[in-house]
């Protein structure tokens, strides 16, 4: 059984006996998984390719529902409700639990419209309020100074790192409670990566963060908790400084010392 450390903080999410099976697959990709996610902290998910970490991440905002035939079992508790129930309002869920992807995904519109997009979807039309919230989001994402003079320009003209911060601004603009990062720096150079990591750490004060990463150093640098997954199971969840120094599971130790993966 998995070794899971006691979480002292309030919990943002709680995964209970969760299983996920892709359409047409015989075996689940995530198996009987239990995991708490601490509020206002950063939880990193690490593990070799195909271990189910991204699959688990995409379950928190029910992204798998976009493709027919996928199956969830068990519970993911968020704000005292099981978000896996069919009656869950996915639009509200995805506003409360935002997501950042592997590659920057600026929409084909202006910088301003990109950040205002989520707000407009919610029906916010008041121009001054929109302007204020876009500015605040861009400031929160540490990109305001770079784009304030060209808000009407096409967002695709920004560099990769800037686009990824724009995507973070777009996600924080709707004031989510949880942010999911799916390998957010895998397409970026080391300097942009540093900027994004710094930003993720700052965001912790307002949102709870789960980040999937291939990069163990990144997990060690940014996260408070780290979960190690292997073959669809959570092997160990611990405080990051403890997990990397004194892992309790043999598999974790082998993985972080580079014996496989």
């Amino acid at each position: 059984m998995a070794t899971i450390v006691e979480i002292t903080e309030e919990k943002a999410l709680e995964v209970k006996n969760f299983e996920f099976t892709y359409a047409g697959a015989d075996v689940p990709s995530v198996k009987k998984l239990d995991m708490p996610v601490a509020k206002n902290s950063i939880t990193a998910l690490i593990g070799p390719s195909g271990c189910g970490k991204t699959t688990l991440l995409r379950s928190f905002n029910r992204m798998h529902d976009l493709y027919p035939g996928n199956k969830y079992e068990g519970e993911i508790l968020f704000k005292e409700r099981n978000i896996l129930l069919p009656k869950e309002d996915l639009i509200r869920l995805r506003i409360q639990i935002g997501m950042i992807f592997q590659k920057p995904t600026a929409f084909p519109m202006s910088i301003f419209d990109n950040v205002a997009y989520g707000l407009r979807l919610q029906g916010l039309k008041n121009k001054t309020e929109l302007k204020d919230r876009v500015e605040k989001a861009l400031q929160d994402a540490a990109i305001w100074n770079e784009v304030k003079d060209r808000l009407t320009h096409d967002a695709n003209g920004l560099s990769g790192g800037q686009q990824q911060r724009l995507c973070i601004a777009r996600a924080v603009a709707v004031e989510p409670e949880v942010l999911l990062f799916d390998e957010p720096t895998s397409a970026l150079d080391p300097i942009s990566t540093g900027g994004i990591e710094e930003l993720i750490v700052q965001l912790r004060e307002r949102v709870s963060i789960i980040i999937v990463t291939h990069n163990m150093q990144q997990a060690a640098r940014v996260s408070d908790y780290t979960g190690f997954m292997y073959l669809g199971e959570l092997i160990e969840l611990g405080r990051t400084e403890e997990l990397f120094v004194t892992p309790r599971e043999k598999l974790t130790e082998e993985y972080i010392t580079g014996k496989f993966g």
Partner: protein
């Protein structure tokens, strides 16, 4: 030895490729040459004159140009919304099990020879138009409808392909902000595929304006400008298909060539706009 073969091969392929350009220039030259007599006789008035009277040796292209423009416009107005609907359904809404069979049947429809659309239009649509809108049934309206049906599959298929190039991750990003399917289609898919979609419309327009067989059956070849869409009319290709056999004077013959020249130039411009402006490859990394 290797080098010599490479050189020969490179030059041979180059010669063939330039041959295509030569062919284009050749066709243009032939049309121009044969149009000379009419060009000299009528000058620019050829385009503005609305009388086409072979027995009086008087030739004006305006009715044929008008017919080409109006029938193509009708075809576009009818086909664009339907093609958009089909493309959106196939790329964003249909279940995977439905996408392939419906997609293939649309591609098959696009492959039907246009003469068959013409025959079908004559025997099926002409009576319907006659009963519903009056007139003889052979008319501008019928031509527009048959044309729209003919370009629809092509337009839908190319538009769907353009929409399919939208990266999943971009659509997912919009869903992740609480967008509905409709929001994603209108704010992400259509803007992302916009230039490809417009390109497909213009290519379809190019096909419609030059289409001959499908409309020859149902248009009537009457050189008369009428605002009543249920009256017979003509278009450039229809006039060409009908009248070459009976062109009994040099000027008549030359005037038909000038009509062809106008059609070639117009089609050339339309296709160029579509290819070079809207359908160029997206920059790498976008």
């Amino acid at each position: 030895m290797k080098n010599i073969i490479d050189t020969i091969f490179a030059n041979a392929t180059r010669a063939i490729a330039f041959g295509v350009l030569l062919l284009l220039a050749w066709i243009f030259t032939v049309l121009f040459e044969h149009s000379l007599e009419s060009l000299q006789a009528f000058g620019f008035d050829f385009i503005l004159e609305d009388k086409w009277a072979p027995n009086l040796e008087k030739f004006g292209a305006l009715p044929a140009i008008y017919g080409s423009v109006v029938s193509t416009f009708l075809a576009m107005v009818l086909a664009v919304p339907v093609a958009m609907g089909i493309a959106i359904f196939l790329s964003e809404i249909a279940h995977a099990k439905l996408k392939t069979p419906v997609g293939i049947s649309i591609e098959l429809l696009a492959a039907i020879p246009s003469v068959i659309y013409g025959m079908w239009g004559l025997f099926y649509f002409v009576p319907i138009i006659r009963d519903v809108f009056g007139g003889v049934g052979i008319s501008m309206l019928t031509a527009g409808i048959v044309l729209s049906i003919m370009i629809l599959p092509f337009m839908a298929a190319v538009t769907r392909d353009a929409m399919n190039t939208t990266p999943d991750i971009l659509k997912e990003s919009a869903y992740a902000l609480g967008a509905t399917k409709w929001d994603v289609i209108k704010d992400v898919v259509i803007p992302y595929a916009k230039s490809g979609i417009i390109g497909s419309f213009i290519l379809a327009l190019g096909r419609a304006i030059g289409e001959t067989m499908a409309v020859t059956f149902v248009m009537g070849n009457v050189h008369k400008i009428s605002t009543n869409l249920t009256e017979p009319a003509t278009s450039i290709p229809v006039a060409l298909a009908n009248e070459f056999a009976e062109a009994d004077s040099d000027l008549y013959y030359s005037s038909l060539f000038e009509l062809a020249l106008i059609l070639l130039v117009v089609s050339f411009v339309i296709i160029s706009i579509a290819k070079f402006y809207f359908l160029r490859r997206k920059r790498v990394g976008q």
